[in-house]
Amino acid sequence: MKMDTNKYRDLFVSETREHLVSLNRALLSLEKSPDDPGLLDEIFRSMHTIKGMAGSIGQDQIAELAHKAEDLLDKLRKRQLKLAQPQVDVIFEAIDYLESAVAELAAGRDPQQVLKQLGTELTKKIETLVAAPQGSRTEAYSNVSGGNDFSRINPLKTAGSFVYKVRVLLEADVALKSARAFLVMHTLEQFGKIAYTVPERHDLEAEHFDRGFSVFFVTSLHSEKEIKSHIASGEIEDIGIEEVVEETEEELVQRRTVSAFTQLAQERPREVKVSTARLDKLMNLVGELVVWRERLKQLAQMSQNSLIQDSVDQVALITSELQHQVLASRLVAMSEIFDRFPRVVRDAAKVLNKDIDFRLEGRELEMDRSILQMLAEPLVHLLRNAVDHGMETMGQREALGKRKVGSVILSAQKVKDQALIVVEDDGRGIDQEKIKSKAIEKGWLTKEQASNLNQRQIFDFLARPGFSTAEKVTEVSGRGVGLDVVKSRIESMGGSLSIESQAGQGSRFLLNVPLSLAIIRALLVSAKNQIYALPMSQVMETFELKPENVKTLQGKAAIIYRQQVIPVQRLAKNLRVISDDGLLSGPTVVMERQGTYAAYIIDRMVGQQEIVVKPLSGFLNYNKTFSGVAISREGQPMLIVDVNNLEA
């Protein structure tokens, strides 16, 4: 599919670029310490990876070149070939070629068209070096010298002195090489000081070099021509002189990768990596900004100055957009964790010898990354449970007339500003009777109470700590079910867990989690002179309740809402601020909680606001009634009611 090719090409581009950066660094280090075996291994592995990726996206020329480079590196790391300048140089050239190829790909062009000749030549060049016989004297320098050792140069520097690297290449038939080298240095020493030579002096004296050597020379002379004239001789084939300036390693890396950098600078990267810590900071700042924006709005209104009001409106607009963008930048597709799950299910199924058909739906749904991260474990728990406890064995399924292959579906969809994630299976379902008897056994219920429970309440027991209907501990799901842990995790994120099941047919575990963290739309209400925030996502409706509309059912106050009978209470009573309902009338909010509705009477509607949720810390958090706290426009703290935990 076209989409997939682009995705893999983009992945190839960004991953290869990372490899190329580390390749450059490693190769530079290798030049300084040619005997480090770890570096060669590292370079070899990177090249190997690039080869594999290139082959996978059909970039055969890149793969071929990387393959040859890999061969060369392999021989080098196995010491079948001696490491010398030509090999290092050709690998740098290979890196440069790869950088160009990647740039072409990123621009949507095919490197195999544009870089064909370069690629072919370079590949041949690498091949020749790979095939070179052991101990070949093709190199002009017997030592690899890339970096300049300024620790030996700096002590000799004075004001007005210059540092040169003088590279001498002797004629092929020179007799008395070391004497010739000595003469060169002796001459240079008349005009300055020699910091060091490559190879070292003692090696030069012992004739441990082929034809070339370098002299690092500090002098007040500023003419390369002049220096050359002093040491030139019929016995010297070539002299190269360049001024040396101290570079930090960074500058050295930069110089080497100039081509990559200029290319990168010319293209706009489509993605950058941002640390999650930074995103969290941004988030907090925006949160604070939102609060002050609200305050400004209020003050602007009070000032009755239209100029100020206009400016504040503008600021408000921009802040909203900023908030939106920051939130969006924290969003990450669920595929980030979803894509790992097929493997989880497969492994569990294998161990338990069950055949599972696993489907993923809604992996494109985007969610705040911190919430998503917290979801991973609970979901793995639920999936493993589905396969382990939820699914019958193949034999059992057959006997029941079910398909041998069990079905497990993980789906995610957006509902208002929350995500509804469902783990569904067509297994044995949950036996309500078993739960009831277990609960009675544990002393949590009397027989009579048990018979009055609805399905939801029965299932709630499943998630109670200490409860477990697992017959035995299995390798896959361990002790018990961990459902209580899952539930508390979800709730700590401001989400909820509910269970639906049909004995013999299957189960559904429904998770509601917020998509975005920390800034929510809330309905502010006043109850008993306190302002509370109710999450808009759960507010169904508000209206003025008349006393005559209140009925009594089973001793409890109720009203009819959308053809349903739902309970109604004063919010203040629910929050235990007052002990008596008093007259049941007035502004009322109908809230949705876990699939059912409930109505709460308040004193006064204050308004709708976007609020920044701050978690309750320490001992305040023991009471699950509140999911957090926020600051109102007036700067007052207000509690955010966790509707799911209000007693009905």
Binding site: A175, L176, S178, A179, F182, L183, H186, S233, G234, E235
Partner: protein, 122 residues
């Protein structure tokens, strides 16, 4: 007018060969010597532009001779002749003040080129 050269070697054969090379290169051989001592003496007498001198000689070897000549004339230009395997001696000679060296068996072009360079003529 050619530059004036003093040729010093204990073997007549070598002196003749070097002289022939130098004459072809438009140099003037103004004197000859067979020992280090003769080299020092002839130098004082003739004041040549250049001395070509062998390293191994009886009655004051080349190195000592270089030292002595340099002492009498710090601007003296001496070109040493060496055989294979005499690296350490060449180094010593250079340290003593010799400007360059050529290795036997000679290549005429090398000899001339070295001579010209020591004299700083192109």
């Amino acid at each position: 007018m050619g530059h004036r050269v003093l040729v010093v070697d204990d073997a007549i054969f070598m002196r003749t060969m070097i002289s022939d090379i130098l004459k072809k290169g438009d140099f003037e051989v103004c004197g000859e010597g067979a020992t280090g001592a003769e080299a020092v003496e002839q130098y004082k007498k003739l004041k040549p532009d250049l001395v070509i001198m062998d390293i191994i000689m009886p009655d004051m070897g080349g190195i000592e001779a270089v030292k002595a000549i340099m002492q009498s004339d710090p601007n003296a230009r001496v070109l040493m002749c060496s055989a294979m395997g005499q690296q350490a001696l060449v180094v010593e000679a250079i340290q003593a003040g010799a400007r360059d060296f050529v290795v036997k068996p000679f290549q005429p072009s090398r000899v001339l080129e070295a001579a010209r360079r020591v004299l700083q003529i192109s």
